[in-house]
């Protein structure tokens, strides 16, 4: 493999990708090589690209990030505040590298596996091959291609047929070092009739610039249910780019909860394809930002088969000179009759410099469907504010309470109480600080 990127910045990011050791599977090495070729040919997107119209990556390209070869020393106490007490297992990655000492593999029920991708390739190679770097192929996406080119320290989660685990599996990614680039990778395969819950959690111990470029691939088989929680609470100078590709088979259920608090610049791409009839998705998102943060969420709900349904609710609370971007596309293909899809984008602006760009889109090519979307941008409801004040609450407290309630509506739907409590404390702290 040689590095011959057409774009100098991409070349600098790719430096080190050749050092990634060979994987246990030849097909994976081939896919990595292909991804490297693609990354070489691609440029960093600019605001002239419709998909990146409001998210300017120039600050990212001004920094030089290097891949990490060894994890920094992190103690259990350092990350104690992020503990999810309900978790059945916890895998901890420091600067992208797995740290067994901090992880708790737990006693998972029969049929549930949560392990390193490298181990998974040995035990479940045939199962992984059709999915890994296939669901998220990254044909034209630089960041997915970069992630695949660096694919090494991944996670493999597997729920075998009819296996069920109520408690969540917690994947904790801890960033500690300046000017590093990490490439977390998750593959989740939920087989027929199974049920499980996975938390992807991105945190930082410092406040220096770094890049997290993550890719998650998810396949949910017939009648299986997956709850997927992504919490992004990176450091204030961080860049976070996440791509998640989900495919749903017949009558599969996918419940997504995305929480965005951190990073100077973050971008979340979520693509859900309903490949089987009657699949259901619920997609919740909340971004609470301030300062000079930019939080960009792009979602694509692709209704490829009949009788599918999706409920999506994305909220943003923007203070300071924050900038929230939402682009949600609902796509109903020809023949996907009886689709029932709804999407709401609700945005709260808290300050003069705050800014929101939202674009909910419908593209419908079947006539017997129920699709609706709505978007609002505004302030707290004056009536609600008056009501609270008339009961004796001072203006500021009333505002904080309502702002908190606006965000809590999404957070409260996360089915992990200890995580909800952590997140609510953060929301409270941030709303009191004026977000």
């Amino acid at each position: 493999m040689t590095v011959t990127a057409s774009h100098p910045y991409v070349a600098s990011l790719l430096a080190g990708s050749t050092a990634v050791p060979k994987s246990p599977a030849a097909w994976l090495d081939a896919r990595r090589a292909a991804a490297l070729e693609r990354a070489n040919a691609l440029a960093v997107p600019t605001t002239r690209d419709e998909e990146w119209r409001f998210t300017d990556l120039t600050p990212l390209t001004k920094l030089q990030f290097q891949p990490v070869t060894a994890a920094a020393a992190v103690s259990a106490a350092d990350i104690a505040m992020y503990a999810v007490t309900e978790a059945a297992a916890r895998l901890v990655f420091v600067d992208g590298i797995h740290v067994p000492a901090l992880s708790q593999r737990g006693a998972l029920p029969a049929g549930i596996t949560a392990e390193l991708l490298a181990d998974g390739l040995k035990t479940h190679g045939a199962l992984i091959e059709p999915h890994l770097a296939q669901l998220a192929s990254g044909e034209s996406d630089l960041f997915t291609s970069l992630n695949t080119a660096f694919l090494q320290h991944g996670v493999f989660i597997h729920a075998a047929k009819n296996a069920s685990l109520q408690a969540p599996i917690h994947l904790l990614f801890v960033a500690t070092r300046k000017d590093t680039a990490t490439y977390p990778r998750c593959l989740i395969i939920s087989e027929a009739g199974s049920k499980c819950c996975v938390i992807e959690d991105y945190v930082a111990l410092g406040d220096e610039p770094y890049l997290t470029n993550t890719v998650t691939e998810i396949a949910v088989a017939p009648n299986a249910a997956l709850c997927h929680i992504k919490v992004q609470r990176e450091g204030g100078q961080a860049f976070h780019i996440g791509n998640c590709a989900v495919t749903l088979a017949k009558d599969a259920r996918y419940l997504a909860h995305a929480v965005t608090f951190g990073a100077r610049l973050s971008r979340n791409n979520l693509t859900v394809i309903q490949q089987g009839e009657g699949a259901h998705a619920q997609i919740d998102g909340i971004a609470l930002i301030g300062g000079r943060q930019l939080a960009d969420t792009h979602t694509l709900m692709d209704h490829a088969r009949p009788n599918g349904s999706c409920e999506q609710s994305h909220k943003t609370i923007v203070g300071g000179a924050g900038h929230a971007v939402f682009n949600g596309k609902v796509f109903v293909r020809e023949g996907a009759q009886q689709t029932d899809s709804s999407q709401q984008s609700r945005n709260l602006l808290l300050s003069d410099k705050a800014r929101v760009d939202t674009k909910p889109q419908l593209e419908i090519f079947a006539d017997d469907v129920k699709c609706a979307h709505g978007a609002t941008v505004g302030q707290l409801d004056a009536e609600h504010l008056f009501y609270l004040k008339s009961r004796g609450l001072p203006e500021r407290q009333a505002r904080n309470l309502l702002t908190y309630a606006f965000g809590a509506e999404i957070i409260d739907r996360i089915p992990v109480p200890s995580l909800v409590a952590q997140l609510e404390r953060s929301v409270m702290a941030r709303t009191e600080a004026g977000a």
Binding site: L349, A366, Q379
Partner: protein, 477 residues
Amino acid sequence: MSTVLDNLVSQPYKHGFVTDIESETAPKGLNEDIIRMISAKKHEPEWLLEFRLKAYRHWLTMTEPQWPNVRYPKIDFQAISYYAAPKPKLKKSMDEVDPELLRTFEKLGVPMHERAALAGVAVDVIFDSVSVTTTYKEKLAEVGIIFGSISDAVRDHPDLVRQYMGSVVPAGDNYYAALNSAVFTDGSFCFIPKGVKCPMDLSTYFRINTQDSGQFERTLIIAEEGATVSYLEGCTAPKFDTNQLHAAVVELVALDDADIKYSTVQNWYAGDEHGVGGIYNFVTKRGLCKGRNSKISWTQVETGSAITWKYPSCILLGENSIGEFYSVALTNHRQQADTGTKMIHIGKNTRSTIISKGISAGHSNNSYRGLVKIGPRAEGARNFSQCDSMLIGAKCGANTFPYIQVQNPTAKVEHEATTSKIGEDQLFYFQSRGIPTEEAVSMIINGFCKDVFQQLPMEFAVEATKLLGLKLEGSVG
């Protein structure tokens, strides 16, 4: 799709005849000589020729927009004739107008004789590249209103034209606006002076007749302080199996307390059921609410054209100014429409309303694309948007692309969109209550569109209802 619905959405175009009239047509192709020729033919002042040439030179550096959700083969701009005018030359009075032209417009139901006119509507009639007549011109002049062709206005009121032309849509605004600025041939001009409420609706009727010509008209409407005007625009074209390009520019300027209402019923030839022929309708329409409390309201019923690309927009600069956009867009067969609006809120307490109803049938593709932008200084700005789609049959597409950009925390923006259908079940429900299919369709469509039809002036509302009827009703199997 059932045969009932199939028959229902397959109605022939009624305005597809060609008038056999001798035309003076410029040689095909576009270059500075052609532009100089157009300008010379119209005895234009030097500044206007400069305006054209500047626009042309800018156009040469631009590329066609790729972002609209429409597909068509590359246009050969050198294969188009940029000037076509019926011979003999323009006559001073109506009685001298070519009888063949009179018959054409009679057939289209456009009144060119004042005595035969619809009561209270003044009409400017544009045939290919030139304005052939304007009715009620003198009566309007009595109250100080200037209404007529833009060529006449350039000759008679050059300072007014120079002051406002290009002030809302700059010559280099976009690819088609630049092309129009270089080669526009005629169009309507109206000027409503301070404090005057225009006593009648003003109307322009556009007709493309020549096969290989494009139509590039330019309309400019100015309402001074406290003035009000309601302006109507209608368009048809003959059936040809080639595509004609229509790239118009419309500029509206409303000063303090002025009110402009602009209504369009667009029924250019849409091509046949296989998508052969039809007009490419690439139009830039924009209104500037320059003054305080000014208001610009766009209402459009778009049923024709092979491809429609237009976004009648409002720049809400004056405090408390109001922008409105009411639209019905119907596509059938292989038609493609990418239409919507832009509401740019700059001033304080500006308000806008968007009501868009898209109806897709056959293999057509109908997109709403709209921008609501609230600038940092637009304290207290409000927008409400409602964008509904109706699908008739399973082979068509309905898309909604709303862009909402807010940079002021006191703004309030609300957008809603829904989809519905006319299918067998809906029609059967009506039938089972004794209501025949045609009446059922007309009732459902009218119900779907009523928020927009209510905005049209009475005569136009009737015409629009009939037009949608023609497009959708018919021989029921």
